[in-house]
Symmetry: C2
Subunit: 306 residues, 2 copies
């Protein structure tokens, strides 16, 4: 089961040096989740051959333009492509007003329905509960209300040891074993003891998206042992004061946060336009947290199932 995130844009504020504004496509099979939607996200999706029809859920962290100005264009293109299936949109209250106003002025009635959920950035909330995963908000602290998102696979089923399972076992028996139950016969006699016939489930994987925010260590409880953490790292640490003023994080702080969370891997992004070369941000972060990578447009970051 694939679980990977493709970076569509990782620059802050304005597009420069072929770096686009924030957008990511998270693929947790069979779902495609779009996280943030900076201007020209649809151009990036087209470039990387990601079909819009696959996206049924869009998450917008906050209403700074570099995180959502591609949304109305994307919604329009979905409409023009003949989309009829529902779309689920999660974002700050006010985003609905922006969409309605623009659709009204262009006299557009979308072919499909948007289910909008306005987010409360002050608390953790489970905003999506699907068969195999949940999505929670992560309360961030920025100049305006801002949420991160935590995508977490649910507890998986136990795995049956193929060699041990006898051919007489029925599908019902297998289902019981997968769910961790022992299998008894009608008289209550033990047929298959679960621990003998199954292995523990594969690990449930998780991905956290944190942009934009100051360093907010109290989120580390929610994100403890996260497999892959994307955290903004707008500035180098010598710009700490500027980072604080603008409610952003430095590369060093992002790495410190990854350490506190005991994250497995870290991706840093949301680079300030002042950095043509972003390698120093990587070096700084790796000095604190070695498993750090830069968010690079077009790259995929996979969480392998173990």
């Amino acid at each position: 089961m694939q679980f990977e995130v493709k970076i569509l844009g990782a620059n802050s504020a304005n597009p420069v040096y072929n770096r686009f504004q924030t957008a990511q496509l998270l693929h947790i099979e069979p779902y495609y989740f779009l996280i943030d939607c900076g201007e020209a996200t649809q151009h990036q999706l087209l470039k990387y051959k990601c079909k819009l029809t696959k996206i049924d859920h869009i998450f917008i962290s906050h209403l700074h333009g570099d995180h959502y100005l591609g949304l109305v264009g994307l919604l329009s293109t979905m409409h023009l492509q003949g989309r009829t299936k529902d779309l689920h949109l999660f974002g700050p209250i006010g985003l609905d007003e922006i969409i309605v106003l623009q659709m009204k002025l262009s006299e557009t009635i979308l072919n499909y329905t948007i289910h909008f959920k306005g987010l409360d950035a002050t608390k953790i909330e489970t905003i999506l509960d699907l068969d195999k995963l949940t999505v929670e908000t992560i309360p961030l602290q920025h100049r305006i209300p801002c949420c991160g998102f935590l995508f977490r696979e649910k507890l998986k089923k136990r795995r049956i040891i193929k060699d041990k399972f006898p051919p007489k076992g029925s599908l019902a028996h297998m289902a019981m074993l997968k769910q961790g139950q022992d299998v008894l016969d009608e008289s209550g006699t033990l047929l298959y003891k679960n621990s003998e016939y199954t292995l523990p489930p594969k690990k449930s994987r998780s991905y956290a998206f944190c942009s934009d925010t100051i360093l907010k260590t109290d989120n580390s409880t929610q994100l403890q042992h996260v497999d892959l953490l994307y955290h903004e790292a707008t500035f180098l640490h010598d710009m700490l004061e500027r980072a604080k003023q603008t409610f952003h994080t430095t590369a060093l702080q992002a790495a410190q946060f990854a350490s506190i969370c005991q994250a497995k891997n870290l991706i840093i992004g949301h680079f300030s336009s002042r950095y043509r070369d972003i390698t120093p941000l990587l070096i700084e972060a790796r000095s604190e947290f070695i498993n750090t990578q830069l968010a690079i447009e077009g790259n995929d970051y996979e969480i392998v199932e173990e």
Copy 2:
């Protein structure tokens, strides 16, 4: 004096095949006018090394997303780049509301002032009067209110024949001659007869932008003898019914309109995404109006001074 238009985007509806949505940068020295601003216009301006600081006037034809969804991002980038000088924005009523709502929700107070003029798409109106040129609206007919724009140089001064003008002539005399006056001495005696010392002024050039619209032949009076006409040509003529339904023009109709206007040159654009290869649109238009060119991203179309 340079007078040329650079195509930043020439596709309709959605971006495909590396074609962007409508945007053009018209350079009439010393001004840079941005006409329409589809999504990712700022990316295109960056690509072609056009500095945002040079743009003081933006014209938006109508509120379909492919013509203006890059505007708020562009305005934000101007703000982030530290712009303080005023910006003049011309567009449909409602565009101001879109900008105000988005700035309010992002809690952004721009460093600079936007002077907005809401347009009346039902009549010709002079919306800008600068020292050397004027801009008039062109009433178009689309599904929603839509204006084209006619940029026209004012009557230029007569040119003094260098060889003939005597060294005694003062700056004041030269100014009078350039303005078409004879020069008399204090007693009223003719010193320099204008027709002997001057040549007619260079031709005043004009550029008309017409997108989106059905064929609207009554505009030909306003656009008579226009030097360069940009006209939308969304479809081939075999799609005439579709063009009519969607209030668009075919390549053949655009060429017919150029003929009726006695335009010198025609650029066609706003191509439907159904055409990967746009050469057939050019061939069709040239069958009626030979001086036709395709609008291609990055290309400059100059009107030479004669």
